[in-house]
Symmetry: C2
Subunit: 199 residues, 2 copies
């Protein structure tokens, strides 16, 4: 069973304009596509889903989804065995857009393996800490290995106005970050189970 | 200075349909209006504001707000000295709607005193824990006293179908919860400073 090919989604957690999430996700997806265990690797950008703030009348744990956007999102999550969640830190925690997307579903997260790639002045670590409790609640398994990209060390601002907060810069991870990402992907591959095995 | 009258907002943190937040906020506001230190007590329901997921291109810390809904929200928050935040627990943390509303602003939260009233199966305590780090990041001061309403002990479901998750029930707090609320409001009154003193 553990040799089965896995499907992996790299989730862009922030939907804010001028966010850095897409370039971080592209870096993660590139590495994942080189990994032998992942047969399919897709980037899912929450900005494309355009989920409104949670508008389901019944809590997700009851599985009684009413809205078309919820049903579409459920189908999407259900099609992956594992996730790498790319998250910035917003005010010492995760962005609302990411929590909103998690809260829409329940059963679809059960048994999923999740790894975190954080970014921010201090590597997004506080966002990751809060997300571990959130994903545990929806019965996903989070791997301890994580990647924490630091804005002043892993992003190149040379071609941007340094004082412009809307300039995302260009991702230039230090070599140890590539190692950390490979370790994260290895851990996800070790712990993830195909949906057929857990569902 | 500490004898100055204070303005207090009771913030309904969840915007989910069938939420219990408005009835909890009404209970908090009733008690606050009986408190001698609060000259003005208003309930602010985030559902009425209809804030979209954070769509400002510049992080709030830079104070460069671009959207009309952000400017309106900033003006609202700026007009209060203190907040009681009413929060459910969604997946072992706060609801996305509440974090979204916090993340829109920065300077307007600075120096504000915040108290928490949580509700949920276990009193919303995990939501409150995460919110303390969030509000500290926007330089608000959170008082240690808190109210944790437990759904099975402080809500009367007698006139509802118990198995229906969309039935909010009727708030019926145990006597000790009223005491806890009064202690929370006292603490907010002790620590809050009029905006003129901190702004």
């Amino acid at each position: 069973m553990t040799n089965d090919a896995l499907t992996l989604a790299v989730l862009v957690g922030s939907t804010r304009p001028a966010r850095r999430g897409p370039m971080v996700a592209a870096w993660v997806a590139d590495a994942a596509r080189r990994h032998p265990r992942f047969a399919q690797v897709d980037v899912i950008d929450l900005a494309d889903l355009r989920l409104p703030l949670l508008d389901e009348p019944v809590p997700a744990v009851f599985g009684d989804y009413r809205n078309p956007h919820t049903l579409r999102w459920a189908e999407t999550v259900r099609s992956y065995d594992a996730f790498v969640v790319v998250t910035p830190v917003h005010n010492a925690s995760y962005p609302a857009s990411l929590k909103n997307a998690v809260d829409y579903l329940y059963a679809e997260w059960n048994g999923v393996v999740v790894g975190f790639v954080g970014y921010g002045a201090h590597g997004g670590t506080r966002a990751i800490d809060h997300l571990r409790t959130v994903f545990a609640e929806v019965k996903a398994v989070t791997v301890p290995q994580e990647v924490s990209l630091e804005l002043l060390a892993d992003v190149d601002f040379n071609d941007a106005e340094p004082a412009d907060p809307t300039a995302p810069g260009r991702l230039a991870p230090r070599p140890q970050q590539q190692d950390a990402l490979d370790a994260l992907l290895d851990a996800v591959a070790v712990w993830a189970r195909p949906r057929a095995a857990v569902g």
